[in-house]
Symmetry: C2
Subunit: 450 residues, 2 copies
Amino acid sequence: MEFKISKESIQEIENLISEGREQELLDQLKEIHYADIAEIMNELSQESASYIFNILDSEVTSEILLELDEEVREKILSNLSAKEIAEELDELDTDDAVDIISELSADKKQEVISELEDLEHAKDIVDLLRYDEDTAGGLMGKELVSVNENWSVLTCVKEMRKQAEHVSRVHSIYVVDDENRLKGRLSLKDLLTTSTTSHISDVYIPKVDSVNVNTKDVEVARIMQKYDLEAIPVVDEMGRLLGRITIDDVLDVIKEEADKDYQLAAGISQDVEANDSILVLTRARIPWLILAMIGGFVAVNVTRSFEGAMEKFRILFFFTPLIAAMAGNVGVQSSAIIVQGLANNTITGSIWRRLLKEVTLSLFNGFLLAILLMLGSHFLLNVDYIIGITVSIALISVIVIASLIGTFVPILLNKYGIDPALATGPFITTSNDIFGILIYFSIAKVILGF
Amino acid sequence: MEFKISKESIQEIENLISEGREQELLDQLKEIHYADIAEIMNELSQESASYIFNILDSEVTSEILLELDEEVREKILSNLSAKEIAEELDELDTDDAVDIISELSADKKQEVISELEDLEHAKDIVDLLRYDEDTAGGLMGKELVSVNENWSVLTCVKEMRKQAEHVSRVHSIYVVDDENRLKGRLSLKDLLTTSTTSHISDVYIPKVDSVNVNTKDVEVARIMQKYDLEAIPVVDEMGRLLGRITIDDVLDVIKEEADKDYQLAAGISQDVEANDSILVLTRARIPWLILAMIGGFVAVNVTRSFEGAMEKFRILFFFTPLIAAMAGNVGVQSSAIIVQGLANNTITGSIWRRLLKEVTLSLFNGFLLAILLMLGSHFLLNVDYIIGITVSIALISVIVIASLIGTFVPILLNKYGIDPALATGPFITTSNDIFGILIYFSIAKVILGF
């Protein structure tokens, strides 16, 4: 059922195109899902992609547009007239149409809108354009089925049939009053099993979850996930029904958010993927490497400030990578748990209790690792007892401090409205490297007295 | 609409319980969504949680059971008789019932199943229990609406009304032949807008996506996401309809997978959260720290093997943390992009092209960073030119090798069926620390000749 994309299948399609065997190509494409056609087009040359786009029906091409990689879509759109783009958008749900239209330049946007055929559709799109992309308003679509609380079930079914023609998937039927204020919902199932003579006001469910149009997209995602909703109505400040958000849009939000956190933790800003250009990848990666290097300069100077120990205790300097690595790893672990807890809303209780728990945990881990380090220093590395003891004591302190930094920084960032995921990855490892080395040599200095 | 959980609200509920004001408590809980009640119960003492559970209707408690934290659920279940558990399960969809029943001991499982009232439900549950948790079979539920291709629309509507009573949300109507082989689907919308005299075989859509019962859960998630499906039918090897998977189950899979990758990248095995006990958290964290420490031992010995340079070039030893940090960061960046690409199925083309790209990228980044390092060494750290040049050349090599390791290891793991996410985090940083330091001193030795 799923089309398996391969070098051969791509080559075959390129051949059909270059040999102009249009009908054969169409026959093949007919069997392939639009999401797969989009994947194929992402791999083709620009000319071939445009060729395929032009021979297909606008019913399919509009869906393909949505699925294409952004840069491929941009190229395809730049080859289309405003009228042609408008035809594609006329096929799409308003929320999807807005996603595409907002990628256009201001001039082209204007032109495309004036070419839209369905006036209601155009109004809805213009209306949606004014909402921020990362809010409920930016996610919602206008396609929904709503019925007045004062109608009978019979009128309702008739009205619904009319409305349903514009709505590809009916999730829920929303019940509104004369002012279009959301009052409740009807399930399709209820409607199927209710006699046509009853009144809507008798059968509707007055409890309905909804979100305000200004709610952040990640918050919408959290709510829909928590309450297991497949669609949620969006209302304005007066409770008037504006649109609906469906689970597939929210799925994208969840995926993007998870990908973003993961990339930030790995020291990659911006949303990049393996196939992006070297320049794009560099732009996403190098700021973090520069940060790490500046941290490295500080670490060089911190280490150098203990140069005095070189004469008698040069072995200490061999341990700095170990200390830095432990500090970095512990810090990342602590921060990751906090970042995830904040994202899932499971961080409850006071900061101080949280920090106390982290101290207990890291003392416990620190002691276990210190014992291991002592054994390792003696049996594997053959260093003096006093050195083994010194490094072990320093390790415990380093682990405690590193885990405190890892816990505290994301909580602090979150408090000030900054994405706590920034704190994981290079930021934490770099600062923990520096603090780790500083603490390590300071403790060694006290114990060994150099 | 959403209940805001707080110290005060929890305290208030504890008070109502301890003062035995059951009716007031019930009135309050009636207004709260079951997902919120579950969150409240997670925060309460075990006695209070059980108290609430006992005074609520089984219609609500069965949903609450699903939402509770695993350890709270375990305690609640251990207080219930097999008959009481069976009553809860009778309220749930088969897939949810199976999730709960599979947490029970073998004996209790047996007992509970024998107490299930609805024989069909019981059969379905027993049937589902034999599938692996991480396959389509483990995700699917038996609740679906299916109609025979030979029926008329009228028969179909009648049958559907009957079946729909057992199905909480109707996503699609599946069309099967006399052997129960999946032939296609009907949308509810089509049914609403089709005359009752037509035949199913005339109106159904013969194209329907489906998954085999043995398909891995992450693969199911990928397919449903790619094709924007809200439900997908599950078939056996003969194409017979076995059940359906809904988008909310898949959402959990996506979330869990993302969380798992994120935690692995941060050096945390097992699925833990901030509120878990210190012992659980230690078990998830310490293996990675031990790995890092063993890597640290190796790094100590590698550094020590270049002890000869200490007399003339002690400054070199101050740079080891910087080199190790750069190697670690670059490795994590490279591996993260590959891991994500593998998860999203966007890694196409040959390994060699991928590695070549990575070499180009890291050479480019390496040169930029080497220039920065040279400037920094001169102006910030005041070290000799020759040292600055040596460290810079070493840095470029270290970055190239580190990024190659970061790219190659996850691809290799993936090829042998091992989760590539294991390669990010501590594993990569530790091995890159070692290789980084080794390459750095080796190059320094060649250039400076110590």
